[in-house]
Amino acid sequence: MVEKVKFKVFRYRPEDGGKGFYKEYEVPVKKGMTILDGLIYIKENIDPTLSVRYSCRMAICGSCGVRVNSLETLACHTQVLELKRRVIRVEPMRNYPLVKDLVTDMTPLFRKQKALMTWLIRQDNVEQENPTKQYLQSEEELERYLQFTYCIQCGLCYSACPVVSTFPDFYGPQPLMKAYRYYADSRDEGGEERVRLVDRFEGVWRCHFAGSCSAVCPKGVDPALAIQLLRRSALKG
């Protein structure tokens, strides 16, 4: 069974400037079809000038984050008919510079990750590059951070966060969550250095537990939880 659904898609051409506008497209939809399939249909059959970013089409690469009916989601992970709407509004994510149409520039997210040193820190660099033994972890040690490794860096949480929207210097959910992921890793030796990095005005203190990050995360990562646990460490001083 094929249904007609109206896609109201945000359009923006950098060379035109301005605020951008919405353009409507009629898309025939079958069961199982995703928002991304709809956008690709528009691009192939109606309007080839539409820009969308995607790669894996299976919720793994984290390229296709958009806002669908005012909620952040992966375009490839959202089925059109499950939304049960005749009109579907597709917009780019918030809190990122806009490149074109639905494509956003993710630089702020990656810059903040870098500022928080979201990688494994070891004191002995020689040993880290050429390890001489195994570094085993118990099941418990793994569970402490495992949930946070499921992140695909789609940046949806960063777009949903009301604090990033109003106060763009805030590190935001994903970078702080990533910092906690390493802080909680028994192999990591970042320790106090990590707490010092997030214990700033722009750090954990700007989180007010609005939970929007965890509400939209397509991977069940729960950045809000990680931030509270990070704040707990910072409060202990």
Partner: protein, 163 residues
């Protein structure tokens, strides 16, 4: 610094983000309500300090005044404050104080890492551990007590629920 390349929102845009919870769910509502109640109760607090100051004679008085002066100051303040608009305002403040306080306790617990679930392997369709049932229960408790405070104050002030 960190926000290089991102244009800052106007204050109006920011207000919209702060005041409209959208479709993000309960915790986002809590964020909006905690902010609104915080601001309104703060304004009430400032007004309350000024108003009680007037009860004892206003800003020019810095030691215990004689009784007749005090009586006059008192009567004037009462005249100013005794009207249904302030009564209704007080009921709203009662609602917001109850909400902010209980929700505040919930947030203190959360910010210190208590009453949240533990990190666990993500499972489809299960809510994030930070949206724990303890946290949710405290939120609804704050709403319940706020509604109770509202009804109770209205009843005391305007006898709405009495024959």
């Amino acid at each position: 610094m960190l926000a290089r390349g991102v244009s800052r929102s106007s204050v109006i845009q920011s207000l919209k983000v702060m005041l409209i919870p959208g479709r993000y769910g309960l915790e986002r509502w809590s964020y909006v309500l905690q902010r609104v109640s915080g601001v309104v109760v703060s304004l009430y607090f400032i007004a309350h300090v000024l108003e009680t100051g007037n009860f004892v004679g206003g800003i020019t008085v810095w030691s215990v005044p004689d009784y007749s002066f005090a009586e006059r100051a008192y009567e004037e303040t009462v005249k100013l404050l005794k009207n249904p608009i302030f009564d209704a305002g007080l009921a709203v403040v009662g609602f917001l104080v109850a909400l902010h306080t209980i929700n505040g306790i919930r947030l203190v617990l959360a910010h210190f890492g208590f009453s949240l679930g533990r990190p666990r392997r993500p499972e489809p369709f299960s809510p994030p551990p930070s949206f724990s049932s303890k946290q949710r229960a405290l939120f609804w408790l704050s709403i319940s007590l706020a509604v109770f405070a509202l009804l109770y104050t209205l009843d005391s002030l305007m006898k709405v629920f009495r024959p």
